[in-house]
Symmetry: C2
Subunit: 199 residues, 2 copies
């Protein structure tokens, strides 16, 4: 159905290119990733980058949203996990750890936690985006604890909101620790302790 557009066809896949841009920003952050880096990574030239995604910051924010979508999906998956809360949270942290330890050039932590805070102090848009994601993480985890309460798998007098903030804190820390070079065993130790105390 989609009629072919009029002019010269694109020689790149916008989705793929955005993915490559995300990888670049993830590796080096916003300030240290140059347009040349982005052009090389995406295989696009500068003007095409602009036409497709706007300026550098817009491209960063679009990459940010892609990653945030993954976070959102993970939270939804956690909330819908039918296994016991302890098991579900364990899996949630294990999957995050796996991602944080991945990377073509060594562990790179979390795109958001490791690259956005440094920019947040001087850029309102990035701070806003970061703030939104942190809040979504808290909200997602709160829903998880609320569900556990309602299923009787967590004490009724538990403050789900407060516990969610603590569970989120563990995620933030895993992100930073991974990028700092901590081993999988160390990260798992933190996750295990968190699951043990939180659920």
């Amino acid at each position: 159905m989609t009629k072919k557009p009029r002019g010269r066809p694109r020689s790149y896949d916008p989705q793929k290119a955005l993915g490559k841009a995300l990888e670049s920003f993830w590796a080096s952050g916003f300030a240290s990733t140059s347009l040349d880096d982005l052009a090389a990574a995406t295989g696009m030239n500068r003007p095409s980058l602009y036409a497709a995604f706007g300026d550098k910051k817009q491209l960063y924010l679009k990459s940010f949203e892609i990653f945030a979508g993954g976070v959102h999906a993970a939270l939804t998956s956690l909330k819908e996990d039918s296994s016991p809360p302890r098991k579900a949270l364990e899996r949630f942290y294990a999957e995050a750890t796996e991602i944080y330890l991945s990377g073509p050039d060594g562990p790179r932590g979390c795109f958001i936690i490791c690259t956005a805070p440094v920019e947040a102090a001087n850029d309102d848009d990035i701070r806003e985006a970061l703030s939104t994601v942190l809040s979504e993480i808290d909200k997602g985890l709160e829903a998880f604890f609320e569900k556990a309460k309602s299923k009787g798998e967590l004490a009724k007098d538990t403050d789900a909101s407060a516990r969610a903030k603590l569970a989120g804190a563990v995620l933030h820390s895993l992100a930073v620790r991974a990028r700092a070079g901590e081993t999988k065993q160390e990260l798992q130790k933190l996750a295990r302790e968190a699951v043990s105390l939180l659920t």
Copy 2:
């Protein structure tokens, strides 16, 4: 008895200048802080900066060590606090929160957690410095929990090392959340929950 040196006297105070450099890096991170920024902040000109502190990265690492010294002092103070563990940890988090929320241009979080991770992936020296501080935080908190155990104020079968990692995670999260714009009340809620579950 320090004899006066031979040549033209310095027109700056190295300690004060380093403090100003730290402020600059804290505000904008390593990559986004230019030598012009640093020269303006310290009141020194570029060649003097080089003579005094070496290149930009060395200056960043020196600033890093200054801040790390503060972290170390806070951990020592926590360990030596004679009040009940719960009170001591409360104060520890409250003091950190105060620092994270401070800043001439709004809350700036933690110098280390908010500026080092982004560089850590591509710079071995910065990753090493970050890794060292994270480890020191864990160690310092572990000593605190060990002491609480030995005083009988914490269950004997508590894994102090694991609990320290979780306590450190809260600190990391406070650092990021503050820079993202969370209010003091929200940060305190996280700290309160942490103290409640950890001690």
